[in-house]
């Protein structure tokens, strides 16, 4: 089944007048109007195009600059029978105008999906139009796939063929073994993406990315800790325009290990704050930008997020709004609930009474209802909640986290009590933390209703160390079972009977990408018995 969209199919509304966006005479209005079987919206949005009807445009596509697949390929939002494929044509990924060196006209892109890496058994073929309006990205959704199955895919543009990507659908039955990794916070300038070099060696069914895929800060000598890296002056300022956001995604994606990680498995991606601006919430900037102005920054940040990631069309922004919370998986083993903890949150509390207000929400009322309904209605053995900021109670002054929204946390924990095996995945803090989620955090003896696996950063904050100045705040709680401040990822194995979580680290990222991988902790969470049993 495809990811469940909310609100359903809003992208099919006729708000996109794609014809206005087509200026190339070889792929013009008349050409498109002759096509059939695909909605004009889907065509314009890089989702689908009638294969075989784009011959003249493809002939022109043969003139494309070399290296159009310079940003790699990716897949995402897998369901039990579907997956979204992604690429963005960019022969010059670091072209300062953010258009990747592409000519300003639509380009048809074909794709193939096969059950074998040599593409002898192709099971799906299709096409989509890469338009300059979307930075020449395409997001075709492939349906009708078998559950729990490995597939390979590739794109064609003109005479060029992309690298091959591997993807996999979610399992349908309860007896599969499902392996995924979580990652977050990849400040490219702070270090090498060594963790991804190791992650691609795992045979993963999915990767869950938990926010801060890019950072908005200017990259200067003061924060460029990645040895051997250099950037041109246009990267030296804090990004604000769409061309700057596109360029920032391109810069980060030039890392070969990141591209390899995208090509190795389907990703679920949510955002945190740095996809727009540090510590923003809803329309509120911490840097004095008026709300009526800030929404314009949010619009380009959300737009660039969609363009550069393998996410469903349901996340395409409308102006400054984007429905990123979504759900995937109707099988019996696992269901993913992907949250947005930025767009709908109430402002920072003005005082303690405000912080403890019953109606404060980090998710917003609509997303809360959607989440609790989805948890209650899930028939999966494991319910995985991909979330931006820490849920566990740490200190009351960490108001950017769920600590700033205690009433919302109580509502979530209440919902988790009646959910089958809830697991919260979190990023943001640049530390590995494993925590048990208590029914009442003021009473450590209260029931454990779920677990939270917080993954450290891929590179943000550089090398890090096992402990740091923040460690005491976390480890003083009996329900916090692990703290480690080095870079890495979390590996999770799900079976019907248990979840095994392994916290992986690399000892350095600044000097080079050669650091070895180590496992600092392993936990087992038996099905039906939420908690973290540490393994030797």
């Amino acid at each position: 089944m495809a990811p469940i969209r909310h609100p359903a199919d809003r992208f099919l509304s006729p708000r996109f007048d794609w014809v206005d966006g087509v200026t190339d005479p070889r792929l013009n209005r008349r050409t498109f109007l002759q096509l059939s079987g695909v909605s004009s919206a889907a065509l314009a949005l890089g989702v689908a195009a009638p294969i075989g009807a784009l011959a003249s445009a493809e002939a022109d596509g043969a003139q494309l600059p070399d290296g159009v697949f310079g940003l790699g390929v990716a897949s995402g939002d897998p369901g039990t029978g579907s997956v979204v494929l992604w690429t963005r044509l960019a022969p010059e990924p670091l072209a300062p105008d953010g258009h990747g060196g592409m000519p300003p006209r639509p380009v048809p892109v074909r794709y193939e999906v096969a059950t074998d890496e040599s593409f002898r058994q192709v099971v799906r073929r299709g096409a989509a139009v890469a338009s300059p309006e979307l930075a020449h990205s395409v997001h075709p959704q492939v349906d009708g796939l078998d559950p729990g199955r490995e597939y390979f895919y590739r794109f064609h543009a003109g005479r060029q063929v992309s690298p091959t990507g591997r993807t996999k659908t979610l399992p349908a039955g309860p007896d599969a073994t499902f392996r995924f990794a979580t990652a977050s916070c990849q400040a490219w300038y702070h270090g090498h993406f060594t963790a991804y070099r190791h992650l691609v060696q795992e045979e993963l069914d999915a990767v869950v990315f938990l926010g801060d895929y890019i950072y908005e800060y200017g990259i200067t000598a003061a924060n460029l800790w990645r040895a051997g890296a250099a950037v041109t002056p246009e990267h030296g300022v804090e990004i604000q325009t769409l061309e700057q956001f596109r360029l920032r995604y391109s810069l980060f994606k030039t890392d070969p290990h990141l591209q390899a990680a995208h090509a190795a498995a389907p990703w679920f991606v949510t955002w945190d704050d740095h996809e727009v601006q540090n510590n923003y919430g809803a329309d509120g900037s911490r840097y004095g930008v008026l709300p009526e102005h800030f929404v314009h920054l949010r619009a380009v940040g959300y737009r660039a997020f969609y363009e550069n990631l393998p996410v469903s069309l349901s996340t395409l922004p409308e102006g400054p709004d984007s429905t990123v919370y979504r759900r995937s998986g109707d099988g019996e083993l696992v269901r993913f609930h992907v949250l947005d903890t930025r767009q709908y949150r109430d402002p920072l509390p003005v005082d303690t009474a405000d912080q403890n207000r019953e109606d404060r929400s980090i998710l917003g009322a609509e997303q809360e209802t959607w989440l609790y309904d989805g948890l209650a209605g899930s028939t999966a053995a494991w319910n995985v909640i991909a979330n931006g900021v820490t849920v566990a109670a740490i200190t009351t002054n960490r108001t950017d986290q769920w600590d700033g929204y205690p009433a919302n946390r109580r509502r979530l924990l209440d919902a988790m009590r009646t959910t089958s095996n809830p697991v919260v995945l979190t990023g943001d803090i640049h530390k590995h933390v494993a925590a048990e989620l208590k029914a009442d955090f003021t009473d450590p003896a209260s029931a454990t209703v779920g677990v939270e696996l917080i993954c450290t950063s891929i590179a943000s904050d550089g090398d890090g160390a096992p402990t740091d100045a923040y460690t005491p705040d976390w480890v003083r709680h009996p329900y916090v079972r692990l703290y480690d401040g080095r870079r890495g990822y979390v590996h999770v194995t799900l079976t019907r009977d248990a979840m095994t979580s392994e916290f992986k680290i690399v000892p350095w990222v600044e000097a080079d990408a050669d650091a070895p991988l180590a496992t600092v902790a392993r936990f087992v969470t038996p099905a039906g018995a939420p908690g973290l049993e540490r393994l030797a």
Partner: protein, 280 residues
């Protein structure tokens, strides 16, 4: 891109202030996906031809503060072009001319000045990012004597407030001592230029001259960047400078030593560009 219509902005208007001109316009509707607005400016002109040489800035906001104009009244002509997500450009907006206001730092006679009124705070102690050393360097605040002390060691680039945990969550006092051979016959103005301030709680200081409480000086919200960078003239900077100039009540100054005291007892930090007293 030919054949593509991109909406032109309307409603361009401007307001001239000390050291800056604030531009606003009506953003194009959301169904145009805007990459940015390109703002063009030409000095001392009634119109501007959009081009690479006249590009002032690119912004996603329907709002630009053309800052760093100094103390003189500066006139500019402006136009704005919409650039959409595909890179297509609109026709330029109608032109608009506007001027900044003149500063007392230009028209007055300096009596006591610390720092340069130049959009930079780099000449001050601990600049551009040494705030963590403030408590050890200035445990009793700043006590600066004009003619004896130098900004590089005697005047902190940041003036913290009680909201700043890194500075002990307490009030912080800056004193400016200066000698006058004679009291000016006319008005005396105080000029405070900031390169930035805390965005949401810039707060205020209680101003005292020679033991007489004068007033409370309230500051504009900045961009919360000035604790880490000190130059508003760098292209692309997000620093948000602000300016405060006001006359002092008569009769406060005296021959010999004078002391101007600022107690930051509200809000967070401000980041200095310069401070001075001017006879006009």
């Amino acid at each position: 891109m030919s054949g593509r219509h991109v909406r032109t902005v309307t409603g361009l208007h401007a307001e001239g202030h000390l050291g800056r001109i604030v531009l606003d316009w009506t953003p194009v509707p959301w169904d145009t996906v805007v990459d940015h607005y390109a703002v063009y400016a030409a000095p001392d002109a009634g119109d501007v031809e959009p081009g690479p040489r006249t590009l002032l800035t690119k912004t996603v906001y329907p709002h630009v503060v053309h800052s760093g104009l100094g103390g003189r009244a500066r006139g500019f002509a402006y136009r704005v072009v919409t650039v959409d997500a595909a890179g297509a450009r609109s026709k330029p907006s109608a032109p608009l001319a506007a001027s900044s206001q003149v500063s007392v730092t230009t028209t007055g006679t300096p009596l006591a000045v610390v720092g340069d009124f130049d959009g930079k705070g780099l000449e001050f102690a601990l600049s551009p990012n040494g705030y963590s050393r403030y408590p050890a360097t200035f445990p009793d605040g700043v006590d600066f004597r004009v003619g004896a002390d130098v900004p590089g060691t005697g005047w902190s680039y940041l003036h913290p407030g009680p909201s700043d945990a890194w500075a002990g969550r307490r009030t912080h006092t800056f004193r400016l001592r200066f000698d006058l051979a004679s009291v000016p016959a006319g008005a005396v103005w105080l000029a405070i230029w900031l390169i930035d301030s805390h965005a949401t709680i810039p707060g205020s200081v209680a101003l005292d001259v020679n033991g007489t409480a004068v007033d409370r000086l309230r500051f504009e919200g900045g961009a919360t960047r000035g604790s880490l960078e000190g130059d508003t003239t760098v292209p692309g900077t997000r620093l948000r400078p602000s300016y405060l100039e006001r006359p002092l009540p008569p009769g406060l100054l005296r021959t010999g030593e004078n002391v101007l005291t600022m107690v930051k007892d509200e809000g967070s930090w401000i980041a200095w560009d310069a401070i001075g007293l001017f006879a006009v």
